[in-house]
């Protein structure tokens, strides 16, 4: 029992419940079940990219390029559709583009041995630029986007199963799969071990490069899925579809317990953190707070949460030292 109470995920769950309680008091309509479920469509994409990002971070890497990979993959889908490809082919093309983007990141990181943050920063521009160029090629200049999708595609985002909207359903299925892979499989264990100690992993003969490459490719593929979900939701593929997910997704991973130094993090944590962040924005909006303030509060939330986690470690060390000193004095006297 104690084991579960002391977990970070429990704290996140408490945060979520507190959020529901506070916003529910301000505006009872917030707690309406259909509202709670329906509003997930506004932030499901954050979770879709934050979950694989968590795995990248656990393995000791970081990826910021997913934010533009979302747009790039959406544009690839749009173009394939524009040239009359059947829907499954277009979707496959988009997923392949995402995988290629991830493979590209991993390759550059391993070939240049430069920190992943810098490399993916470069590809953040490159993918964004490539998406802009591609959409320029088919004449969808600027940020208008590519539309005219088949109905089957655009209706997907509004499809519901047992009351759960499709984007949220995608997120849940993804979370279940990644949860099993990360926390129960051999691969997941190698991911953690790479991040815990790259030295020890190397000496143990773990295929570090392969493991890290897989994590980046996963992020690329899920960025493509996020791009498809958003294209379906908005009815058009735009270059800047994923730009707004950059900060919230990293926030979700870190708030969810992923350590930027690697080796720590959990799928459930990130999923809960996504809900905390998403409902914070929804709740603030419904309470009549302008959206700009809610973005400030999300930033503040990240700072406070991380400061608390790190600060409490510093405090715990200090307290332990004090207790030990008092004990000895007592023993001496």
């Amino acid at each position: 029992m104690k084991r579960y109470l002391l977990r970070w995920e429990t704290a996140l769950l408490a945060m979520l419940i507190a959020e529901f309680a506070i916003f529910g008091m301000i505006n009872p309509r917030f707690l309406n079940l259909s509202n709670l479920l329906y509003s997930t469509s506004d932030f499901a994409q954050i979770g879709i990219v934050a979950l694989p990002l968590t795995i990248v971070i656990i393995a000791g890497g970081i990826d910021v390029s997913f934010a533009s990979a979302v747009g790039l993959c959406a544009i690839v889908f749009g173009i394939a559709n524009f040239f009359g490809m059947p829907l499954p082919v277009s979707i496959l093309a988009s997923l392949a583009a995402g995988a290629a983007a991830g493979l590209f990141n991993a390759t550059v990181i391993h070939v240049s041995r430069i920190q992943p943050l810098v490399v993916t920063l470069g590809s953040l521009y490159l993918f964004g630029g490539a998406a802009t160029v591609l959409s320029g090629v088919v004449g969808a200049s600027g940020y208008e986007g590519i539309g005219n999708f088949p109905d089957a595609f655009t209706s997907f985002a509004y499809f519901e199963l047992g009351g759960l909207p499709a984007p949220f359903l995608v997120l849940l299925v993804e979370a279940v799969i990644l949860f099993i892979v990360l926390h129960y499989s051999r691969f997941g264990r190698s991911v953690f071990m790479c991040g815990l100690s790259e030295h020890a992993a190397r000496y143990s003969g773990l295929p570090i490069k392969t493991i890290q490459t897989i994590t980046y490719v996963m992020t690329g593929v899920f960025a493509a899925i996020a791009g498809l979900v958003l294209s379906s939701y908005f009815g058009s593929a735009r270059v800047d579809l994923g730009t707004a997910t950059l900060l919230p997704a990293i926030t979700a991973a870190v708030l969810g317990g992923a350590s930027i130094y690697g080796g720590q993090g959990s799928i459930i944590g990130t999923l809960l953190a996504t809900l905390v962040i998403g409902y914070l924005q929804q709740g603030l909006q419904m309470s009549g707070v302008p959206s700009q303030i809610s973005s400030a509060l999300s930033g503040a939330l990240l700072v406070v949460a991380v400061a608390l986690r790190h600060g409490s470690a510093v405090l715990a060390d200090f307290v332990a030292a004090r207790i030990m000193a008092t004990n000895r004095k007592r023993a001496a006297s």
Partner: protein, 349 residues
């Protein structure tokens, strides 16, 4: 050869930049002119100032991704003060103070609470942007007084006051990190934090100073931004932090801390900025801009990484060269000495 490129990153980038200019000049006559140079220079001022501050933070082996929001926030403080009728001097002072406080917050989070700098500044990136939006209520600040806009006007010699300010900051920071004792600490703290601590350097103070300086320089960039375009939109400075880091990387500043120079920043920023103007002259649609910037950045990174690895290999090979012909030692250890040595080791385990 490799060694030269590895050591003279700035010279290499300079050569590449000049070569690129010449090629573009050949392809698009009229490109190589004083007016182009003047446009590139004034377009690069905002990025230059932000990148300079980012360099100080990176030297200490931290990173600052909040500078775009600091720029926006301090520009808004400047604009609101001016529109409330305060004097230009007072408004600029408040603007710089805002930047300093923002930097101080970053610095305290990183040093006192041990939050990794990327996370701390990612948080404050959102936080400062939000504070700015709360201040403006989401509205753009327009109709800035002429006194501010006049700063951007080219004077008799073809330089604006802003250019002078940025050049002066470059020189001041350059002298600070090269010549002064405290300035050298920036390199030491980033190069080997444990060694710096061991040598009695105030490691935390140096890191805080770097963040505060970065905040002030971002505020200066905010002032330049407001003066140059005459109004302050909501998204002022958005994405600039990433461009500043890109300019640092291009300019040879190591993200592992401890190495980087001000001339490198200058060349890196000019290179990035001139891509825009070159595209115009080459009649390439503007939407190629980000793609080219990203491709160039990654190409430089790849080359740099390969060169550095080659140099490392050379150093390793030198270190592991096995000495073959040794001269006999003056004295061989005596029996009792080796005995006591082994005893000591035994005791140690």
């Amino acid at each position: 050869m490799l060694d030269f490129f590895a050591r003279n990153r700035v010279a290499t980038l300079c050569a590449v930049t000049i070569l690129a200019f010449l090629l573009i000049g050949a392809a698009a006559p009229g490109y190589l002119s004083l007016s182009t140079a003047s446009v590139v220079m004034s377009n690069s001022l905002v990025l230059m100032s932000v990148a300079l501050g980012t360099m100080l933070v990176i030297l200490t082996r931290n990173i600052d991704v909040s500078s775009g929001s600091v720029l926006g926030l301090s520009a808004v403080v400047l604009g609101m003060m001016l529109n409330d009728g305060h004097s230009l001097g007072l408004a600029i002072a408040a603007c710089l103070l805002t930047g300093a406080v923002a930097g101080l917050i970053n610095g305290l989070l990183v040093t006192m609470l041990n939050v990794p700098s990327i996370i701390a500044t990612l948080g404050t990136l959102g936080l400062f942007r939000g504070v700015m939006l709360i201040l403006t209520g989401g509205n753009w600040i327009e109709e800035l007084p002429l006194s501010l806009k006049a700063l951007a006007d080219n004077g008799a010699v073809g330089f604006s006051v802003l250019t002078v300010i940025v050049i002066a900051s470059l020189i001041v920071v350059g002298l600070l990190v090269r010549q002064t004792r405290f300035g050298r600490y920036f390199y030491a703290v980033g190069d080997n934090r444990e060694a710096a601590r061991h040598l009695g350097i105030p490691v935390k103070l140096v890191q805080i100073a770097a963040f505060v300086a970065a905040g002030v320089l971002a505020a200066i960039a905010g002032m330049i931004f407001a003066a140059q375009i005459g109004f302050i939109p909501n998204q002022a400075g958005n994405g600039l932090e990433l461009k500043a880091i890109a300019a640092n990387v291009l300019g040879g500043v190591s993200l592992l801390g401890g190495s980087g120079t001000v001339p490198g920043i200058f060349v890196g920023v000019i290179f990035l900025t001139s891509i825009d103007s070159a595209l115009v002259f080459l009649k390439i649609p503007a939407f190629w801009n980000d793609f080219i910037a990203g491709a160039v950045l990654l190409l430089v990174l790849l080359l740099d990484g390969r060169v550095r690895m080659a140099v490392d290999r050379a150093i390793r090979a030198k270190r592991y060269a096995v000495h073959h012909h040794n001269t006999p030692a003056p004295s061989a250890p005596t029996n009792s000495e080796t005995m006591s040595k082994s005893r000591t080791q035994e005791a140690g385990e």
